[in-house]
């Protein structure tokens, strides 16, 4: 674990929040340093035990035989899709809900985009007996219905956010407003390495178990370190989680794959960027508590982002990841909606794994750049795709992809 005690990563990071939240953020910073960094009261021991018993860690590192053949490269999958809940999100949610408990907080709130973080938070809150409310954009509620069911089934309230385009950005703003109102008894479980310090480093530390395990596992299985680690990046929590343990292994390339959406062009007039490629195309600015790279117009108004994958659909990115891209340690890449959809189908058909659309972006990168990952690569399979089935079928029908999934069986069955 690397520590940036001032909460800055180069020029990025910091604490740009309303004054009402500052004492809570200072309290959180103190709790993070005591319980997470110093393992006070055995916090980290309890966290790891619960991640194992409740979460099912460690997750496997699996050689993908058919992809390895296809790309003539040793492809290993870090199977975060097998973590309880179906995505890496539980690592962070369980850590933060447990921390809230140690801090004596009585209520949990969280934003969610794809619904994976909301689901993970709802599960962790039920598991640790804390009341929980999730804020979710109305667009996302409609495109991620299975996760809405899951949150409700776990007993969480789901509050629709109807401002703006009704996606992750609006959900984060609304959760911050709730926190500013109920800050005295409530903890905000932020879902990625974004927001004011200490969130970016704390969420990274809860997620870094991904890379710690993967580093051990790849050495056990191949006797060496990989040439590259590839992960998708929305806010960047699965990304930094996978990369952190390899940070000092300079020979290991770290590749963050963002959503190229339908195009990298932006429409200043309407304030829409039809992508979420913040690391590749964004400019420095201040949003949701941190200075980082953003999709914004020339005045500094935040753009509406877009991606076929709700979990990548965000106009900002974690400040640490922005810094590591600037410094050259992490390479930023992006793949568009179509490439991600094709990769989704390929993994489903060739490996028997239905990935989350977010994770499919990392596989899309492999398909487009098989020569860029070296002889041995670890891909972070950040989540499973059950939540995306409806979207994928719809989006596939609208396009002329190399893959063809015929769903006429439903019509046949009705006859």
């Amino acid at each position: 674990m690397s520590s940036h005690t001032d909460g800055k990563f180069g020029a990025y990071g910091g604490q740009y929040v309303p004054e009402a939240l500052m004492p809570a953020i200072e309290e959180l910073r103190d709790a993070y340093e005591r319980y997470v960094l110093d393992n006070e009261d055995g916090f980290m021991d309890e966290f790891r035990k619960r991640l194992a018993d409740f979460g099912g860690r460690p997750t496997p590192l699996q050689r993908a035989d058919q992809l390895s053949d296809r790309y003539d490269t040793e492809v290993y999958l870090k199977r975060e899709d097998l973590l309880h809940g179906g995505a890496h999100k539980l690592n962070n949610a369980l850590g933060q809900v447990l921390l809230a408990k140690y801090m004596g907080k009585e209520r949990i709130i969280a934003e969610t985009g794809a619904g994976q973080h909301g689901t993970a938070t709802a599960m962790a809150a039920a598991h640790l007996d804390m009341p929980c409310e999730i804020f979710m954009g109305s667009t996302d509620i409609n495109r991620q219905r299975p996760n809405v069911f899951r949150m409700r089934l776990n007993g969480a309230a789901v509050n629709p956010v109807t401002t703006g385009r009704g996606t992750l950005k609006e959900a984060i703003s609304e959760t911050m407003r709730d926190w500013a109102t109920n800050v005295e008894d409530t903890h905000y479980v932020i879902g990625s390495i974004v927001g004011p310090d200490p969130f970016p480093r704390m969420v990274r530390d809860f997620q870094s178990v991904i890379g710690e395990e993967a580093r051990e596992q790849i050495r056990e299985q191949t006797g060496q370190l990989p040439d590259s680690v590839v992960a998708c990046a929305g806010g960047g929590s699965n990304t930094m989680g996978a990369f952190d343990a390899f940070r000092e292994d300079e020979a290991v390339d770290l590749i963050a794959v963002e959503a190229g959406g339908s195009s990298l062009d932006v429409d200043e007039e309407t304030g829409v960027a039809p992508n979420s490629a913040t690391l590749s195309t964004g400019e420095e600015g201040v949003l949701h508590g941190a200075r980082t790279k953003l999709l914004q117009d020339s005045d500094g108004q935040i753009m509406e982002s877009h991606s076929v994958s709700a979990g990548l659909d965000y106009a900002g990115v974690g400040p640490e990841l922005a810094h590591l891209v600037d410094s050259g340690r992490v390479q930023a890449a992006n793949v568009d909606d179509e490439v991600a959809l094709e990769a989704f189908h390929r993994l489903s058909q060739r490996e028997g794994i239905i990935p989350a659309l977010e994770s499919a972006h990392a596989f899309g990168y492999l398909d487009e750049n098989p020569d860029a990952v070296g002889d041995v690569t670890v891909l972070n399979l950040s989540g499973r795709g059950d939540k995306d089935l409806e979207t994928v079928i719809e989006e596939t029908e609208q396009r002329d992809l190399d893959v063809d999934v015929d769903m006429s069986v439903f019509a046949e069955a009705e006859r």
Partner: protein, 279 residues
């Protein structure tokens, strides 16, 4: 270090009535008339919102106003034109979010924005997402151009944080009457009294805002020791109703002016029962 026009308001002794509207809500022309109506109604300082797309400190009333203004084409550049077109006596304080300040002009950072604001005739700034910890570059730019930098004191602000803020504030402090976001309320919070008590030893004017809606609220808050009252959502509500019903500009302006009078009168009544009233 501070702005003379704002100092003069508080030196005059009467409680300051500080209304807030989003510039350009629901459109440029109407908004000019509305702000001027508040000036006629007794505004001592006017806080003008420059709309930002992610207003995390705002409740739904002001969020909606921001959307109306942005949809009608408000930008930082047009905001400065707006300030130039206004015919008002009260000094103007610009309330916006840090990213707009940071991006403005040729180079990133607050200097270009502050320079332009000063030349447009702005007397001070309030930036709700910029805590004292991150404010030094902006504070320095404001000093260079004699702009006040107003900080918001929350019910949760105390100890070292309060000191840090008081070291950097000028003009007045914005005492947030309750936790949460902006929005008109039907009661006045006890948190206000506690906050005013915590600030009693600091020699800077204290203006209370967040939730004030009626002349009675204004009276009660001034009698609790406030040097001024800040009223936003209750006025934005009037603008919103006018926009929703497509009312003539004058009718809405009249209603804003009489609401301003009600609030000013309430504040003045409060002065006679204030703890340190020496009359």
């Amino acid at each position: 270090m501070s702005n003379d026009a704002i100092d003069a308001v508080f030196e005059a002794g009467d409680p300051a009535f500080i209304p807030y509207l989003v510039a350009g809500d629901p459109d440029y022309e109407s908004s000019l008339a509305y702000v001027e109506a508040l000036d006629r109604g007794g505004a001592d300082i006017i806080e003008l919102g420059l709309p930002f797309s992610e207003p995390i400190a705002e409740g739904s009333t002001i969020q909606d106003a921001i959307v109306r203004s942005l949809e009608a084409g408000m930008t930082p550049e047009r905001f400065f034109d707006f300030v130039g077109d206004l015919d008002v006596e009260a000094p103007l304080v610009c309330m916006t979010y840090y990213n707009l300040v940071y991006q403005y002009g040729q180079q990133r950072g607050p200097r270009d924005f502050v320079e332009r604001a000063a030349s447009a005739g702005i007397s001070g700034l309030v930036i709700p997402d910029l805590p004292a910890e991150e404010a030094d570059p902006l504070r320095a730019a404001c000093d260079e151009h004699d702009l006040d930098l107003v900080f918001i004191v929350a019910p949760t602000t105390e100890g070292e944080r309060l000191t840090r803020m008081m070291d950097r504030v000028s003009g007045y402090v914005y005492v947030q009457a309750r936790l949460g976001t902006t929005g008109a309320r039907d009661d006045v919070s006890d948190q206000t009294d506690e906050s005013l008590a915590r600030l009693a030893d600091w020699d800077v004017p204290k203006a209370v805002g967040f939730g004030i809606k009626t002349g009675e609220h204004a009276e009660r808050i001034v009698s609790a020791g406030a040097d001024g009252i800040i009223v936003g959502s209750a006025l934005v509500d009037i603008v919103a109703a006018g926009a929703a019903n497509d009312e003539p500009i004058e009718a809405v302006a009249d209603r804003l002016e009489s609401k301003a009078r009600e609030l000013t009168d309430g504040a003045v009544r409060g002065l006679t029962s204030a703890p340190d009233a020496d009359t």
